[in-house]
Symmetry: C3
């Protein structure tokens, strides 16, 4: 840090198990990745190459190498996993992870219907190869999953071998954990937390108000994701009580 202030909450150190920031790259150039890392490498824990943007991104291997050389793992968005599965190309997907030297992968069913047993089987198989993040929640805003079901799904996916479970929000923050307006489904989050340890959940929270809400509920070291590269520094100030929204939250009363 550039100067000393009292009453700043303590942040976890890398490699973090809690306090993770997952960043969404939806098509940065190699130089933009370098720029991003020059400001935010310390605050970014894991990079998601959003949905299937990796299909059309030039210099993909070079990009992945830049992140990995900075000590930050990379994974393909869950929609790419689904694109392979729906085409009966799961074995191709497993080869792809090796070809691109990836040690993380996401299992999701946000865009397709999948039996929960099948999803857990994919998690089990991929967990023998990579670290698995599994995502719960639909990208379809008309599909409302009740809280008890979120809990069942999360439990079974963690038992199947997922490292963390992700609460779905999309790039915009308007489905899954959130209403179409972006407002948090507060009762849902609170009920999930009665059953699943907070550090096992990574909450997608692309909007500032969503990040503020989670930091106020769970502290500086909450796991959040789908953060735009340019919002990693602002998020870090929210975590530390150094933006208006959380300014008084960590101060001695």
């Amino acid at each position: 840090m550039n100067y000393t202030l009292t009453q700043i909450p303590e942040r976890t150190d890398k490699p973090r198990q809690s306090g993770l920031t997952m960043v969404m790259d939806k098509g940065l150039s190699l130089r933009e990745v370098e720029d991003f890392l020059s400001t935010s490498a310390q605050h970014a824990d894991i990079i998601k190459l959003g949905w299937a943007t990796s299909y059309v991104t030039p210099n993909l291997k070079a990009k992945i190498a830049i992140y990995q050389d900075a000590g930050i793992p990379v994974y393909f968005g869950g929609t790419l996993f689904e694109a392979f599965v729906v085409r009966n190309q799961f074995d191709d997907y497993r080869r792809l992870l090796d070809e691109f030297n990836l040690s993380y992968a996401e299992v999701s069913d946000g865009s397709i219907d999948m039996l929960q047993d099948d999803k857990c089987e994919y998690i089990r198989q991929l967990a023998t190869q990579v670290t698995v993040l599994s995502e719960v929640g639909s990208k379809d805003e008309s599909k409302i999953i009740p809280p008890y079901k979120w809990i069942q799904l999360m439990k079974s996916e963690l038992e199947a071998g997922a490292w963390k479970v992700i609460g779905e929000a999309r790039e915009g923050g308007t489905v899954g954990l959130f209403r179409a307006s972006g407002e948090v489904r507060q009762g849902l989050v609170e009920e999930i937390l009665t059953q699943i340890p907070s550090e096992k959940i990574l909450w997608e929270a692309p909007q500032k108000e969503q990040q503020v809400w989670f930091v106020k509920l769970l502290g500086a070291n909450v796991n959040v994701g789908n953060i735009a590269p340019s919002e990693v520094i602002p998020l870090e100030t929210i975590r530390l009580g150094l933006r208006g929204d959380t300014f008084t939250h960590f101060l001695d009363k």
Copy 2:
């Protein structure tokens, strides 16, 4: 592409007559242009220097040259054409196109009142010098043009020599083809398409939901414009059925 997936719709090749992506540059630096081209040159067909941003953009000739050297034509936004016309400087405008080595130009009347005969005469004159895009629709959200009138205007402008007609939306996507909320004026679009061939129209569609709507209606190779540079890669995935929104659209049933 970085890997092989089945059931991906076929995209047209450059130079495209359909499936065009028109990108809006509203002030990128030279290095940002290079970054953009390193990821998106293959997917970007034509660059608009938004409205009259070219008036205050440094290194304008160098910027235009970078795009053109990548095989991507550049044109000044229609508002600049109107700024010259309203000041009785149309001859200056024609000289300007030559001075900046431009082979495309836009004719529009989004900010001023212009007789349709005069607009077509501008199109005819400019078409002897450059490839002309003409734009239909007002930037004033209180001016609602009925569908039959859109059709008349588009027909007469294509007959006057326009290569494509553009459906107005502004940078934000909230006028012309769209309601103030950004929602597509669906009946308007459908009625236009009964009379004007889809490949002759370039639909301004800056918002993701608008792009999704046009891809679902007209397929992977719809012409869309006013795309922000950072949204060209995401748009390409929408075209290919590789984002949640169009994920099942191109799959065999």
Copy 3:
């Protein structure tokens, strides 16, 4: 300018006392700063390192030097001043300004309660060291300050030694001068202007519609702030009547 148009309003020259554009940097990399300056150095008058982003920004001294070498002063967002004050570290803050070679500072009370006499005393003390901008208005949207009170506060802060007073809006443009919808509190602005000279006020106006409103009310050379780096070129066109929104505003009738 790249070409000549008649009927363009005259802009003030640097160093400007009116017509100022204050830009918010919330975490740019050094190369992004260079990119920004290559397009916008001429149009940017002063840089705010947003709220306390400077706490977590790497290469902070190098960044400040790049801006200052381009002749553009830099200051820390008012929230950082408040973070030091609320921790009884005001003397540390004064040393910090010297350590980072800053000649501007902001005094604000957007996130904490502060007696107006105390705020003016901070202004007086800092004014012996640097040029002071003081900010009026709360970041809390539920705290509505009546117009006569805005005027009292602004007058007393200018008398205490503030160079300019800033009207609060946050990064988003949804508090202080604006309603939660972003709409200008028009009556408030007009009443303030009956008592405070326009050139002494810097209006935070991050949204395009807000910038348009102020340019229409106060002309090309209004002082506005919290402008995103990528919006400085677009703002300049709004000032000059070269974007649709102000297109006819400066034309001879």
